[in-house]
Amino acid sequence: MMERALRAVGVVSVAVLVVQAWRGEGARAPMVVVPSRSAVQLLASLPLSSDTLAIATDTTLDARTTAWLAARRDAGAPARWGSARGIAPTAVALEPSLDPGGGVRALVAAPVASTVRLADSAGVIDSAVIRTSGASFAIATPVGAAVAGVSGTSARARAPLVRAPRSVIVLARAGWDAKFIVAALEERGWPVEARIIVRPDTAVVQGAPARFDTARVAVVVALDASAAPQAAAIGAFVRSGGGLVLGAEASGNAAFAELRAGANGVRQAPLAIAVSAASPRRALPLVPIDQLVAGAVALERRDDLVAVAARRVGAGRVLQVGFEDSWRWRMTGPDGAREAHRRWWASLVASASPDALSEATQTVRSAVSTWDAPLARMVADLGAPDPQATIPTSSGEPAGTSAWWWGVLALTALLGEWASRRLRGAP
C-alpha cells in the first residue's frame, strides 16, 4: 500500500514537472532580471527585436531606465514588466521650508501602516510609520539626494534651490510680544521691517513698514489693533500675492474681518502653568478661532479649539494665530525654548509666505528631480505591471525553486518505493 502511495507521489511530481515545463515553454519571452535601480547598461546590451522584453524587478527603476525602456518600446521593441513582491506606491517631494534658516521639507506619500525610511548620502535621517496618507519630514539640507524607502521601494529627490527671502513687516504696539517676535524673526534671518507704536504720535520704526509691496515684502505680521489703519492696504497686498499673519487682537478688529480665517472665540486661559518642551503652547493663553470661513484650514488645534488657521485670499495667504503672549515661551520655557520659539514664528511666517522658488530652479538640469513617484512613473512609461513578467520571489525563493522541490519529492518517493521493495525481497 505504502509502495503504491509512494509511486503515485513520484508520478504526480513528475507530471507536475512536465506540466510546468510545458507551460513555461509556451509563455517564455526574453526575460531580464533587473536587480538594481539603474539598468541602462544591462538593457542596452540586449538586441533590439520585436520580441516583447519582460522586465522582472523587485526594485524601482530610475527615471533614466524607464525612459530608455519607453524609447525602446517606441522604437518597436515592446517591454512589459512585473514584480513578484510588488512595488509600493510611493512618492517623495522635497520643498524648501521658505525660511531663511534653511532646511527642507520632505513630503512622502506611502501606503497606510508602511514604514518610511528617509535617508541621504550621509545616512539615515529619520523613519516614520504612515498613519493616514503620508508623512512630512522637516530636515536640514540633505547631503546629496534624499531617498524615501518603503519596503523595498525607494523614491529619490533632490533639494530645490530657493532665492533670498523677502522682508517681513511687523506692525504692533510696544510690548513684549512684539519685541520678541521681531527678535525671533530677525535671529532666524528674516529681513524685518517694523513699526512699533510707543505713543499715539510716536513709533519706533525699522525700514519702510508702510510700503506693502509684494516685490519687496513677503509677509505682514499684524499683531494688534494698531495695524487697523493699514488694513485696506494690507488687504490689497494679500490679494496681490502677499502673506499675512494676524495676531489674536488684530483678527478681532473689524478692519480685518474680510481677511481673517475665522472669528475670535472666547479667550482661554493657559492649560499649563509652566512651558514644557513637549507642548509649549499649552502654557499660552488662546483666543480660539471660531466659525472658520469657507476654504479656511485649521492648522493647529488645542484640544477641540482651533489655534492656528489659514486661508487663501486672492493670490495671497492669511494665517491667523490664536495664541497670545508667545514671548513667555521664549523667556520662561526650558532650555532650547528660545530656539523653538524662533523656529515656530519663522515657520508661521514661512507658511504664509508666497512661493519662493527661484527662477534658477526652473533651468537646473539634474538627473534627480525635486520629486519622484517611482511606481507612477514606471506605469506611465512602461504600462501596468504584468503578473507573468515576475520573478517568483514572493516567498523569498529564487527562480525555479518550486520545480526543484517537485523534483526532490519525485526522487524521494521513487527511491522510497524501490527501497521498500528491496527490503521485503521483491524484485
Binding site: 521650508s97 531663511p100 534658516g101 534653511g102 521639507r105 513630503l107 506619500a109 518610511v116 528617509l118 548620502s121 550621509a122 545616512g123 539615515v124 535621517i125 529619520d126 523613519s127 516614520a128 493616514t132 496618507s133 503620508g134 508623512a135 512630512s136 519630514f137 522637516a138 530636515i139 536640514a140 539640507t141 547631503v143 521681531v182 527678535a183 530677525e186 535671529e187 532666524r188 534671518g189 529681513p191 524685518v192 517694523a194 512699533i196 505713543r199 499715539p200 504720535d201 510716536t202 519706533v204 520704526v205 525699522q206 525700514g207 484650514v297 485649521a298 492648522l299 493647529e300 492656528v308 489659514a310 530656539e339 524662533r342 523656529r343 515656530w344 515657520s347 508661521l348 514661512a350 507658511s351
Partner: protein, 683 residues
C-alpha cells in the same frame, strides 16, 4: 665504568644538547621576528602600537619555538629511550645496550657488559646530539647580523618603542611632514608630566603649555604659521623642531614644505578657577550683640591644585547715604597644591569694634597656582551677619516730601560749570554772537542760582520764610549789593568778616552752614559778572570756588531722616500721556543679527568637506579640522562629535557613524516626522 654509567653520561649530554638547542631555536625565532619587523619598520614606518607589541610577540614566539623543540626531541629523560637513540647512532651495539637497560636482561648482564664495552658509542652519540644545534645557531647569528646591520636607532624603535620615535633622523629628499611627533609640556605649576603624541592632528593641553613639534629634516625647508603669525623653526641633528605655546583661544598651526602641508589644531584647556563652598556660618543671621566667636569653615576644590585660601570679611557701617567699609582677610592657609582642601577659622567679634547696625559679609576664597593667566580665584557664596540696632523695631513714618530747596532745580552750579566748560571748548568753532549769547544764558542761570542761594542764606539768618519768587523782587534785599548782604549776614551771625571761611571750632552749626554759602554767593556774583561780558575763562575759577563752597555747606548739613515710604500706586488713567512731549521724537530701530546664519554656514562647510571625503580625504580632513577649530571658540558643544570623527579619520578607521553624529549635531534640529497637513506647509 659500567654500561649503565656510560649511558647515564650520554643521557646528561643529550639533555644538555636538547635544552641548548631549544634555547637556540627560541632565540633565533625571536631575533628573526625582531629583524623582520625592524626591516619592515625601516621601509614602512610601523605604528607605535605594533612596534610596542613586537618584543612581547618575539618572546612568545621564542617560548613556543623552544617548547616545540623540546617536545620534538622525544623522551630523553627515559634511559630506555636514550639507549634506543644510542643504538640508532651506533649500530655496532647490536641492541646490547637496550637489552642491558631492560630489567629482563639482568640475567645476562655480564655478557652484555662485555659486548658493550667493546663499542665506544659515546663519541658518535655526542656528535649526533650536538649536530642539530648548528642550524638554529646559524639562524641566530644571521638575525643578529641583520639587527646589527640596521642603521642606528632602528633596533631601539623595536626594542624600546616610545611615542615620538616615529620621526626617523635621516638625510635626503622626502616629505618632512609625513610624520610629526608632538610633545606637550604643561606649565610647571601644574605638575603634569610631558606627553608625546605621534602624528597628531590636534593637541589638547592646558593654556600656556609648551608644544614642540618635531619632524625629519628631509627635503625642502619647512615653514609654519599659526594664525598668520610665522612660527620659528629650528633644525637639530637631522630633525626640525617648532615650538609654540598653547594659546588661550583655539589656533591652527599650518606647516608647509613645498607642496606638502599639514595642520595641527591647538585646543587650549583652561585651568578652571577653584570651586569654594562656605559651610559655616551656614546661613545669614542677626546678632543682638557683637560678642563671641564666629566659626568659619569652607571647602575648596580645583582641577589642578590649590595654592592658598582665606576668608574675606567686609564690614559695612552706616546707613542711608553714609556708608563706611572695612575689608579683612583672615585665616589665610597655604593649601600645598592639593586638589581638595578645607579651610577653617574664627572671628572674635568683639575685636572688630562692631556697632549696632553694622553688617559683616563673609565669604571664603581660594586661589590656584596658575602662573600663566594669573591665579584663578574662586569664591563661595556670601553670608551676611548683622548686628541689631537697639531700637530696631521702632519705626518712623515719614511722608515723602518734595526735594529740599537746595535740590529744587536741576540746574546747579556743577551743571553751570559743565555748560561753561563746554562753551569754552567750543569757542573756536562758534561765531562771536553765538558765543556771547550762550555765555549770557549761562550768566542768567548763574544769577538765578545766586539769588536762590541768597534766599536760603537770608531766610536762615533772618528767620523769615524763603520767598518763592525771584530774590530781587524781595524789597528787603532788592537794593543790597553782595557786600551789604555779606555784612548783614555777618552781623546776623555775629562773626567777624575777616575770619577764614572754614569750620572754626566753637561756632554754632548755623554759622558753619552759612559761611560757605556766603562765600558761594560771592563767587557766583563774580562768575555771573564775567559770564555777562562773555569772559567764560575768567568766570570758571569763580564757579569752581562757588561749587566747592556749596559742597562744604552741604556736607555740614547732610542729615537724613529715613523711614520706609508708603508704597505708591500710580493712577495710570490720571497721568496717562499728561507729560510734556516736546523732546520726544520717532526713533529708528536697527535690525538684529541672524543667529542661525553662522550655523547654516558651518553646516554647508561640513557638507562640502563630506562631499570630497571620498576623492580627497586629506583635504576633507583638513577642512573638518579647521571647522573644529572655529567651533571650539564659537560653539564648543558642537566641536566634540567633530573631534571624534576626525580621530576616526586620522586613524584610518570607518568614520561614517561619527560623521553622521557630527552632522546631526551641526544641523541643530533633529529631523522630525509629522503627518501630511491640509495646508501643505508648516506648521
Amino acid at each position: 665504568m659500567s654500561a649503565l654509567e656510560r649511558l647515564a653520561r650520554v643521557q646528561r649530554e643529550l639533555t644538555a644538547a636538547v635544552i641548548t638547542g631549544s634555547v637556540l631555536w627560541g632565540a633565533s625565532t625571536a631575533v628573526a621576528l625582531l629583524a623582520v619587523v625592524a626591516v619592515a619598520d625601516r621601509a614602512l614606518t610601523l605604528p607605535l602600537e605594533l612596534r610596542s607589541a613586537t618584543p612581547w610577540l618575539a618572546a612568545l614566539a621564542a617560548v613556543v619555538a623552544a617548547t616545540w623543540r623540546v617536545r620534538r626531541a622525544g623522551p630523553f629523560a627515559n634511559p630506555r629511550a636514550v639507549a634506543l637513540w644510542v643504538e640508532r647512532t651506533e649500530p655496532a651495539l647490536r641492541y646490547a645496550l637496550v637489552t642491558r637497560v631492560d630489567p629482563a636482561g639482568a640475567a645476562s648482564a655480564d655478557a652484555l657488559e662485555r659486548a658493550i664495552a667493546r663499542v665506544a658509542f659515546e663519541e658518535p652519540a655526542r656528535r649526533a646530539a650536538w649536530r642539530p644545534l648548528l642550524r638554529p645557531a646559524a639562524a641566530l647569528a644571521a638575525g643578529v647580523v641583520v639587527l646589527f646591520a640596521l642603521p642606528a636607532g632602528a633596533v631601539a624603535r623595536i626594542a624600546r618603542p616610545a611615542a615620538g620615535d616615529i620621526i626617523k633622523a635621516r638625510r635626503g629628499a622626502g616629505d618632512a611632514l609625513a610624520h610629526v611627533a608632538v610633545t606637550v609640556t604643561p606649565p610647571a605649576y601644574s605638575g603634569i608630566a610631558p606627553t608625546t603624541i605621534d602624528d597628531a592632528s590636534r593637541v589638547s593641553a592646558l593654556v600656556g603649555s609648551a608644544v614642540r613639534v618635531v619632524g625629519a629634516a628631509v627635503g625642502e625647508p619647512v615653514a609654519a604659521h599659526a594664525d598668520s603669525v610665522r612660527v620659528q623653526l629650528a633644525e637639530a641633528g637631522l630633525k626640525w623642531t617648532a615650538d609654540v605655546t598653547m594659546p588661550v583661544a583655539p589656533s591652527v598651526v599650518h606647516f608647509v614644505q613645498g607642496t606638502h602641508e599639514r595642520l595641527l589644531l591647538l585646543e587650549p584647556r583652561a585651568d578652571s578657577a577653584p570651586t569654594v563652598s562656605l559651610t559655616a556660618p551656614a546661613r545669614d543671621s542677626v546678632l543682638k550683640v557683637a560678642t563671641g566667636t564666629l566659626r568659619l569653615a569652607a571647602s575648596a576644590r580645583d582641577d589642578i591644585g590649590l595654592d592658598h585660601g582665606a576668608f574675606e570679611v567686609v564690614i559695612s557701617s552706616g546707613e542711608g547715604e553714609n556708608f563706611r567699609f572695612r575689608t579683612l582677610t583672615i585665616a589665610r592657609a597655604a593649601l600645598g597644591n592639593a586638589r581638595t582642601a578645607t579651610l577653617g577659622g574664627a572671628i572674635r567679634l568683639d575685636t572688630l569694634k562692631l556697632e549696632p547696625g553694622d553688617l559683616l559679609h563673609v565669604r571664603a576664597i581660594a586661589l590656584d597656582r596658575n602662573t600663566v593667566g594669573g591665579p584663578g580665584l574662586g569664591s563661595s557664596e556670601t553670608r551676611a551677619i548683622r548686628i541689631a540696632r537697639a531700637g530696631e523695631y521702632d519705626s518712623v513714618d515719614v511722608d515723602a516730601a518734595p526735594p529740599p530747596e537746595e535740590r529744587k532745580g536741576v540746574i546747579s552750579e556743577r551743571m553751570l560749570i559743565l555748560l561753561a566748560e563746554k562753551l569754552e571748548k567750543q569757542r573756536a568753532q562758534l561765531a562771536r554772537e553765538a558765543f556771547v549769547g550762550q555765555a549770557r544764558v549761562i550768566a542768567r542761570d548763574q544769577n538765578t542760582l545766586r539769588k536762590q542761594v541768597g534766599n536760603i542764606i537770608f531766610s536762615r539768618l533772618s528767620g523769615d520764610p524763603v520767598d518763592e519768587k525771584e530774590g530781587d523782587d524781595d524789597p528787603k534785599r532788592a537794593n543790597m549789593t553782595p557786600e551789604q548782604l555779606l555784612a548783614a549776614a555777618n552781623a546776623a551771625t555775629e562773626a567777624a568778616g575777616a575770619e577764614p571761611l572754614d569750620f572754626a571750632g566753637g561756632e554754632s552749626p548755623v554759622v558753619n552752614i552759612n559761611r560757605p554759602l556766603l562765600e558761594a554767593y560771592n563767587a557766583m556774583w563774580e562768575a555771573g559778572r564775567e559770564l555777562g561780558v562773555a569772559d567764560v575763562k575768567r568766570a570758571l575759577p569763580h564757579m569752581y570756588v562757588a561749587l566747592a563752597a556749596i559742597q562744604k555747606a552741604r556736607s555740614a548739613e547732610r542729615v537724613y531722616l529715613r523711614g520706609r515710604p508708603k508704597d505708591a500706586v500710580v493712577d495710570i488713567a490720571r497721568v496717562r500721556l499728561s507729560g510734556k512731549s516736546d523732546i520726544i521724537g520717532p526713533s529708528s530701530r536697527l535690525p538684529r543679527g541672524n543667529l542661525d546664519a553662522a550655523a547654516i554656514a558651518r553646516l554647508a562647510r561640513f557638507d562640502v568637506a563630506l562631499g570630497i571625503l571620498g576623492t580627497r580625504p586629506a583635504a576633507a580632513t583638513d577642512s573638518l579640522l579647521l571647522l573644529r577649530a572655529e567651533l571650539l571658540g564659537a560653539a564648543p558643544t558642537l566641536a566634540a562629535p567633530l573631534g571624534d570623527a576626525l580621530d576616526q579619520l586620522r586613524a584610518g578607521k570607518d568614520a561614517t557613524e561619527a560623521l553622521i553624529a557630527a552632522r546631526r549635531t551641526l544641523a541643530g534640529v533633529s529631523a522630525h516626522a509629522a503627518p501630511l497637513g491640509a495646508w501643505g506647509r508648516a506648521p
